[in-house]
Symmetry: C2
Subunit: 238 residues, 2 copies
């Protein structure tokens, strides 16, 4: 059950670090990009055979994935890709909003170096070009870059690690359907608003701008649930 797309991920991966780390990166991406369906059973042996490695690093990658909330390891039963639910999406969004707004406020409070501001502006410019040419995958990468540069630029490495973890849950929904999500132009404008507020050192505006940005997914979520009711585990109004 190894699609060519997944094999490609394995080949293209930089092979940095141990086999376990490489497996984790690849499997994580495969789950986020819906190459593995929610609820699908994985197996140490199956994966190890597919990638020609032993079961042990696969097992360790599974454990790491289970801690990231992407798979569910049931002893003596099997390992399953966790389902997507409105609850899980809302919970991940809740945590991300809390941390990202705090980062935004902190950045406005302490200020960012010219170098970081330049990087953020540059990323926004490239996002504009992506939006007009409709390069979805590239836009997602640049979006992640933006939030990472902002968090690390403000000196919040731990915060970024947390954001990265919960973000995986949200990205999975994003990959479900690009058209149903917010238009890229709107997202780019929100990025610009955030940087503007931070550069003006206005904490309240920085919080508000990030709050608006993080709330976008709440708007598109109901449509997604309707369109993909088969994917979402809880198809009922909350």
């Amino acid at each position: 059950m190894l699609t060519p797309a997944i094999a490609e991920l394995w080949e293209q991966d930089a092979a940095g670090g141990s086999v376990r780390q490489r497996l984790y990166r690849v499997l994580r991406l495969a789950i986020i990009r819906m190459q593995f369906a929610p609820g699908q059973a994985l197996s140490e042996k199956e994966i190890s055979d597919a990638f020609s490695v032993s079961r042990q690093p696969v097992r360790e990658a599974f454990i790491r994935l289970s801690e990231a909330g992407l798979v569910d390891v049931r002893p003596q039963r099997g390992t399953y890709v966790v389902g997507i639910s409105q609850k899980s999406v809302r919970e991940a969004r809740f945590v991300r909003e809390a941390v990202e707004t705090a980062v935004s406020v902190s950045a406005a409070k302490q200020g960012l170096t010219d170098k970081v501001i330049y990087e953020l502006r540059d990323l926004i410019e490239r996002q504009v070009r992506c939006a007009s040419s409709g390069q979805y995958d590239q836009f997602f990468i640049l979006d992640e870059d933006f939030h990472r540069v902002l968090a690390l630029g403000a000196g919040h490495e731990t915060a970024w690690r947390v954001i990265e973890e919960v973000k995986a849950q949200l990205d999975r929904v994003r990959y479900l359907s690009v058209p149903d999500t917010t238009p890229f132009e709107k997202l780019v404008q929100q990025h610009a608003d955030i940087v503007d507020a931070i550069e003006r050192r206005n904490e309240d505006e920085a919080r508000q701008a990030m709050l608006v940005h993080q709330s976008e997914i709440l708007i598109s979520l109901p449509q997604m649930v309707q369109r993909f009711s088969s994917i979402f585990e809880d198809t009922h109004s909350s």
Copy 2:
């Protein structure tokens, strides 16, 4: 290098779940309670011999600990307990403040069930008794219970998991010196203030009450750094 205190942790552990999970719980507690000194070298073989288990579950527990930011696994070199620094404490506190205040606001916004409110009040009462009798260890447990019941009561399981992770970094500092931290009576009063604000459904007061509570460690931190300058990796004014 296995102290009796650590062996006791191993014996007292409920032995629930796999060997790996049991090892993780015990080693995590041992690090938080400073049974393992910051910078100390651990070793898969040493631990496995000490607890009469094989290297594999120990190794997996190490990986989990490294993801929690408690140890640093350097391939082919060794595994070391990570040091304590002002930066790491401030970063962990930053994330915890962001998430806990969001939880507090959310609880005030949506309201809590009578059952949860009762549980919180009960925990506060027991904390009062602990404070007067000076039962340090028990107070720490009840404090963690309070924050867990609050987060889970508000339906934020993912948020609690994040809090639990970053809290470990902060607890390590707490265990350094109980007297230097905020008096228990003051902490209990802050807990009561939080519940009061939530029960009144006042979001702003709930945020403010949690903010004050989460800022306490910032007050005691400078004293801690002075008293334990040998423990902190960065002994210089920030």
